[in-house]
């Protein structure tokens, strides 16, 4: 059974703006899927419908056998613990330390009171430090997040995601604010998590070349509709131009390629 299933999902903001229109696709467990498309095409909305940071207007989303669109509050919390999210602007609590931010990944599984008090078990703390070590941030573990560089912040974001033990990681433009070197580090980490930890990754990307290099499958979104869904090898130059609604030589990939 597929891990994630979109069935004719649409999203209309304020009764006017059509962000998603009749989106249907499935993601199997263990896949690394990139979603590409121009700004404002609905990529972020698509990801946010999965963990209900945005509510879909119509259609059904099935995640891990549960209907996300019509679940109870308690079930939603459970679904959210299984779908971690990584953000373009990292979305860390800047004034807390790295390890505290990483431990936030456990909040969904904790009781209200221990979450409020920031009380974590020894086992959770050990795991947090192990993940921080894997991310190469052990020297920064006690530093406040506002002292970190962008690339380091995003690694904290990934560590927080792993801390959740998710089945699926949703990455919303994870490298859009990073320099090329940090971008590679982040993408390598995501690839590594996908291959070794067998966590499914769904990544929104602006960089077509990055998407083609790292993912096995690409979904192209234009104006809220899926215009391409298939293996990376099948993504032709013409297809890319259709996704970005552009002409020959209008894209940076035309120059680079």
């Amino acid at each position: 059974m597929a891990l994630l299933e979109f069935q004719h999902v649409s999203k209309i903001y304020d009764n006017v703006t059509r962000a998603l229109e009749d989106v249907t696709f499935t993601v199997e467990e263990g896949e690394f899927v990139s979603i590409i498309g121009p700004s404002g095409a609905g990529k972020s909305t698509l990801l946010r419908c999965i963990n209900r940071l945005v509510d879909a207007s119509s259609g059904k989303i099935i995640f891990d056998g549960q209907d996300v669109t019509s679940c109870s509050k308690k079930e939603l919390r459970e679904i959210r613990t299984k779908t971690a999210m990584i953000f373009q602007h990292y979305n860390l609590v800047d004034r807390l330390s790295v390890v505290e931010n990483v431990l936030h990944g456990r909040l969904g599984q904790k009781s209200t009171l221990s979450g409020v008090a920031g009380h974590y078990t020894e086992k959770e703390k050990e795991e947090a430090f192990r993940i921080i070590q894997e991310m190469g941030l052990i020297d920064q573990a006690y530093k406040r997040c506002d002292e970190l560089s962008g690339g380091q912040k995003q690694r904290v974001g990934i560590a927080r995601a792993i801390m959740q033990h998710p089945k699926l990681i949703l990455c919303d433009e994870p490298i859009a604010s990073l320099d090329p070197k940090s971008s590679k580090v982040i993408m390598d980490h995501l690839k590594e998590i996908n291959e070794n930890k067998k966590i499914t990754c769904l990544v929104n990307l602006h960089q077509v070349d990055v998407a083609m290099k790292y993912s096995g499958r690409i979904i192209g979104v234009t104006a809220g509709r899926i215009v391409y869904d298939g293996p990376t090898e099948g993504l032709t130059k013409e297809m890319i131009h259709e996704i970005y609604q552009s002409n020959e030589n209008d894209l940076i990939t035309d120059v680079a390629g």
Binding site: N51, L53, R77, E78, I79, R80, T81, T83, A84, M85, F87, H89, N91, L92, V93, D94, R95, L96, H104, G105, R106, L107, G108, Q109, K110, T112, G115, V116, A117, G118, G157, R160, Q164, L170
Partner: protein
């Protein structure tokens, strides 16, 4: 080229027009209110010489200093207490009115209206109203300050919380955290500097306001000022004012230092 010159010309004309309108409004308002600028300025020297001869604290006034300081301390402590208590109430109330906690929009609207009501009734008016229920009592002053501080801080905290913590709250929500966990793990840590800055500012403001309220409720430093003033003991009254100024300056210095350390 001609077009760019045009833009500069138009800007200059706009500024000139705005300036002339200001002058016209001032002149018109002065005429209607029968306010004579020149007379006002000319009376300055006389006012200053009166201040010099009456308001300089003399030996007799200085003997009252211990008494003044005693009342000043009482006023300062009440102001601090009021501000801190009001801040705690205002913080939790502001969460209901914030955009990011996503509680029902009607609740948000009601919270903002209540906050606006408490804030826009001046503290002196609150004191006059509360005097009917509490009488001339320190409690009257306490509640008068509490209400305005509560209203103002609720509004300020809503802005602070909305501005600072929307990103990290989104992330915590995505981990499955519930609202209360988000408040303590996300909103409080990230908006703390803003909250502290507002609380320190309100302490300063409340020390100033409590003087005026004290005149009404016959408590604290305001009572002393009123007393000396009505006895025509201007030297002592001015010593009271000077001591308030010094206290506010001291508090300001302390709060600046505190801000440096915390932020």
């Amino acid at each position: 080229m001609e077009q760019t010159m045009d833009i500069f010309k138009r800007r200059k004309m706009t500024y000139t027009a705005v300036f002339l309108v200001f002058i016209a409004v001032f002149a018109g308002a002065s005429y209607v209110a029968d306010f004579r600028v020149v007379d006002g300025i000319l009376s300055f020297p006389a006012a200053i010489s009166w201040i010099a001869s009456n308001l300089i604290p003399d030996q007799a006034a200085l003997e009252r200093l211990p008494n003044i300081l005693d009342k000043l301390l009482e006023t300062a402590l009440v102001s601090v207490a009021v501000t801190v208590v009001a801040a705690i109430f205002a913080f939790f109330f502001s969460l209901l009115g914030s955009n990011i906690t996503k509680i029902h929009f009607a609740v948000k609207r009601i919270v903002r209206i209540i906050a606006a009501f408490f804030r826009n009734v001046p503290d002196v008016v609150w004191a006059m109203l509360l005097m009917f229920s509490f009488g001339q009592n320190i409690l009257t002053g306490f509640f008068a300050l509490f209400f305005t501080t509560f209203g103002l801080l609720t509004r300020a905290f809503i802005e602070t919380v909305d501005e600072v913590s929307s990103d990290c709250v989104e992330a915590l929500e995505a981990t499955g955290a519930n609202l209360i966990q988000m408040v303590f793990q996300g909103i409080i840590p990230s908006s703390l500097p803003g909250i502290i800055t507002w609380v320190l500012y309100m302490i300063e403001t409340n020390i100033r306001s409590s003087t005026l309220i004290g005149v009404l409720t016959a408590t604290g430093i305001g009572y002393l000022f009123d007393l000396y003033y009505k006895r025509l003991d201007f030297a002592s009254a001015s010593l009271v004012v000077l001591s308030i100024v010094v206290l506010v300056l001291v508090i300001e210095t302390i709060s600046n230092k505190l801000r440096e350390v915390i932020l």
